[in-house]
């Protein structure tokens, strides 16, 4: 299959809510097989951007091109290759972990039934049996949400604060999982997190968002020549950016 190098492009994306402008003139391009860290303060517009890419919200202006598709029906089809966790995990609380994955398998039309079991093992939930998701801990839900997002072998993963609530072991496992997915299987990952020390170990490239704008975009290599860590760089960027 023909694989474009640019997986996602946004063109002058704007999003207005009644009184607030959540996004203004967002132009980004994500390349295949790279991990992009989305960094910004609370209310910067990270979730809004991911919701528009995932089709949950319509931009006020502008458009996106996903896997080369930009018309409405082809965008809907292109989203079959998308996996996402946006804000809180989207799960059926009255079903077990395996049943949640089974539903996703049906929705996605994935023929391979054994994937459910393998994914449960991969995220360390194979011991939960018939326990319902409503009785899961926060970290367990987060792990299940990651399994759901991975079910259909996505080519683009949108992860909005996916490591919230994970234990140290879980964080390490997810980091290894995401790195393998991106660098060995060519999956593109857009991940937001407030835990900058973690993002620092994961991302190949950073997008800094403030007040609905991309104020800076640079690679991990570029950043390391300017600063010894992401946190310091971000704080400096904010200081520069504060209104005079």
């Amino acid at each position: 299959m023909y694989e474009p190098e640019v997986v996602l492009e946004t063109h002058n994306l704007n999003k207005d809510y009644r009184r607030t402008r959540a996004l203004s003139d967002i132009n980004i391009a994500l390349d295949r097989g790279r991990i992009y860290g989305l960094v910004g303060q609370n209310g910067a517009g990270k979730t809004t951007l991911m919701r528009i890419i995932a089709g949950l919200s319509q931009p006020t202006q502008g458009s996106i091109t996903l896997f080369g598709a930009s018309s409405q029906p082809s965008l809907v089809r292109a989203r079959r290759r998308l996996g996402a966790i946006i804000e809180t995990p989207a799960l059926y609380p009255d079903l077990s972990a395996a049943q949640n994955l089974e539903i996703e398998r049906l929705i996605r039309g994935v023929a391979d039934r054994s994937r459910v079991k393998r994914l449960l093992q991969q995220v360390g939930l194979d011991g939960t049996g018939r326990k319902r998701v409503r009785d899961f801990s926060l970290g367990m839900r987060q792990r299940l949400a990651i399994a759901v997002a991975l079910l259909a072998d996505p080519a683009l993963l949108l992860l909005d604060e996916p490591i919230n609530g994970l234990d140290p072991m879980g964080i390490i496992q997810v980091r290894q999982l995401l790195t393998t997915l991106a660098h060995e299987h060519g999956c593109t990952i857009l991940i937001s997190s407030h835990i900058l020390s973690e993002l620092d170990q994961l991302a190949d490239e950073y997008l800094f968002v403030s007040d609905g704008r991309i104020i800076k975009q640079l690679t991990a290599a570029e950043l390391s020549t300017q600063h010894d860590n992401l946190e310091g760089y971000f704080l400096e960027l904010l200081k520069e950016g504060t209104p005079q």
């Binding site: 919701r51 949950l56 919200s57 809907v76 989203r79 079959r80 946006i86 989207a90 539903i103 929705i107």
Partner: protein, 247 residues
């Protein structure tokens, strides 16, 4: 679309609320059956007809179930999950409504089938069972299902608009009560409004339930009324849902 429908049925079969609704449904039906005990047992045919007249009482369960089934899909964001998985909003909405309407048909039919079945066991059907009799019973039941689906679709529409379990249940119950009040002609209302009220699917369903025998004219009118109402509400729900901001 097939995948979405499979997933919806998979969920419905395991839905705690659906099971609770069915249990409540069977219990209420049993109470009705025993409360209506006559001096001499009535034949199944008569009991089925009077059960269809009482059907609007069961509609309350469907109004509540709309909120319980569709509301959580928004608060748990499983609707969002289906959209992110590459399905159009129209299809996500259709799959959910189809499965909800089938569930309500099951909920509504428990009482008439149970009560007429029990009556039939005690006192027989009432007339000799011929092809003609089978067809006329099937026609009455099919029209009841269609007209009730049209009413239930109104509750589904409200649930899709409100995107919240509590609000959806509250509003659906109020609408249900309003429909119940409007089921009898209101002399206080202007004549033209009373004329329009005749077109409500709840009121057509009542006319169909009372008609013995059901005339061809009324049957066609009920079929057309039910289909038009159902299709209009589906279009309206799809239109509004495509434009709404998802939770």
């Amino acid at each position: 679309m097939k995948g979405l429908l499979y997933a919806e049925f998979y969920h419905l079969r395991r839905s705690r609320w659906f099971h609770i609704m069915l249990v409540a449904d069977v219990l209420i039906s049993i109470v009705f059956v025993f409360a209506a005990k006559d001096a001499h047992p009535l034949p199944g045919r008569t009991v089925l007809r009077s059960a269809l007249i009482d059907l609007p009482l069961m509609m309350m369960l469907c109004a509540i179930f709309a909120g319980l089934y569709i509301g959580p899909a928004f608060t748990n964001k499983t609707v969002a999950r289906a959209i992110t998985a590459g399905h159009s909003r129209t299809r996500v909405m259709l799959a959910k409504c189809i499965v909800y309407l089938i569930a309500t048909a099951v909920i509504l039919l428990v009482y008439p089938l149970l009560s007429s079945g029990m009556a039939c066991a005690r006192a027989g059907w009432g007339v000799t069972i011929t092809w003609g009799e089978c067809i006329s019973v099937a026609r009455v039941i099919a029209l009841a299902v269609l007209l009730n689906a049209a009413v239930c679709m109104l509750f589904a529409f409200l649930s899709f608009m409100l995107q919240d379990t509590g609000k959806a249940i509250g509003t659906s119950v109020v609408v249900y009560l309003l429909l119940t009040i409007l089921a009898t002609p209101r002399p206080a209302l202007p004549v033209w409004l009373n004329g329009l009220l005749v077109l409500l699917p709840t009121n057509i369903a009542r006319d169909v339930a009372f008609a013995r025998p059901l005339s061809a004219g009324l049957a066609w009118q009920a079929l057309a009324g039910g289909v038009v109402c159902l299709v209009l509400l589906l279009l309206l729900t799809g239109f509004a849902f495509n434009r709404s901001e998802l939770k």
